[in-house]
Amino acid sequence: MNSATVRNLLVRGMLAGLAAGLLALVVAYLLGEPNVDKAISFEDAHSREHEMEVVSRSLQSTAGLATGVLVYGVAFGGIAALAYCFALGRVGRFSPRATALLLSGCALTAVYVVPFLKYPANPPSVGDPDTIGKRTTLYFLMMLLGVLLAVAATILGKRLQPRLGTWWATVLAVVAFGVLIGLAYRFLPVVNEVPKDFPATLLWRFRLSALAIQVALWGGFGLLFGELADRVLNPRPAKAPAAARTVPAAH
């Protein structure tokens, strides 16, 4: 019974991740791709060596982009659904939908915003190919650190709650999270490989669009998965009482 609930939530998490991935894909295509194209034009104008095209630009910016973003959505949807199974009823007095949105917000922060503020997304032509190993390690390390510290802060908050009350326990846990992340920012190596003449506005727009993709992904996931999880956990009676939220969604 409980195992079936976990399975149902996991499947819905992956489906919600796929749907949120579609939303993120629209944002990526409309807001992100123009900046990628501009960065590639810059790269072509400033480097003498021309790489041979393995996959054409028109495929990279459509089918390739879709593959990457949708797989990312499904994978994080599945992971978030499993985390949701742990979090449900354990983090505080939150309904299934509120738990989903809260978890989604925390995931956006821990998995994306925390690494992003130290090692932000870079468009093509920013980044030295020789340091790819170091940059990849640092990026995944920052992701892992964000997740571990978010979990630790949640546990700390739960421990402090009986003594300090919910408000101050939460404030203290969030401050502890911020301080530790700040220390990590201070001591991890700086990466700055922006070419000298690269347009600052293009870099800024690219990074904003990268952030918008993640906000769309996690926002969409939190709302959609919350709704699906609520239906698994609180099955509606066949004859629903008159209420504002009984509008049936298209199947």
């Binding site: 409980n2 195992s3 609930t5 976990v6 399975r7 996991l10 990526a28 992100g32 791709e33 990628v36 996959v55 495929l59 990279q60 910016s61 390739g64 982009l65 879709a66 593959t67 990457g68 973003v69 797989v71 990312y72 499904v74 994978a75 994080f76 599945g78 992971i79 499993l82 199974c85 742990f86 449900l88 009823g89 354990r90 007095r93 309904s95 299934p96 738990t99 994306y112 690494p115 992003f116 090692y119 932000p120 997304a121 870079n122 468009p123 093509p124 980044g127 190919p129 790819i132 190993g133 940059r135 990849t136 390690t137 995944f140 669009s209 990268a210 993709i213 993640q214 609180n234 509606r236």
Partner: protein, 73 residues
């Protein structure tokens, strides 16, 4: 926001029941690893490390890798 306590009704219990860890663990281990492998292929394959030789995977997800924030090249 106002601290409104909604009257508990039959359809919306205040706090959802916890799922036992023993029910979550098998799913979490198997699917957790599977999802991480998917993320690896989107985010890092044929960049810093390679399972398959060549650059096909890297080139195919090139734009996604840049826009999702992974270090690409």
């Amino acid at each position: 926001m106002a601290q409104t306590v909604a009257p508990p009704t039959a359809t919306t219990p205040a706090v959802p029941a916890k799922l036992p860890l023993s029910a979550i663990a098998p799913w979490a281990v198997f699917f957790g690893i599977l999802m991480l492998i998917l993320l690896y292929f989107v985010g890092a394959e044929q960049g810093a490390t390679s399972v398959f030789s060549g650059t096909d995977v890297h080139e195919w997800v090139h734009d996604a890798r840049h826009l999702l924030g992974f270090p690409c090249h």
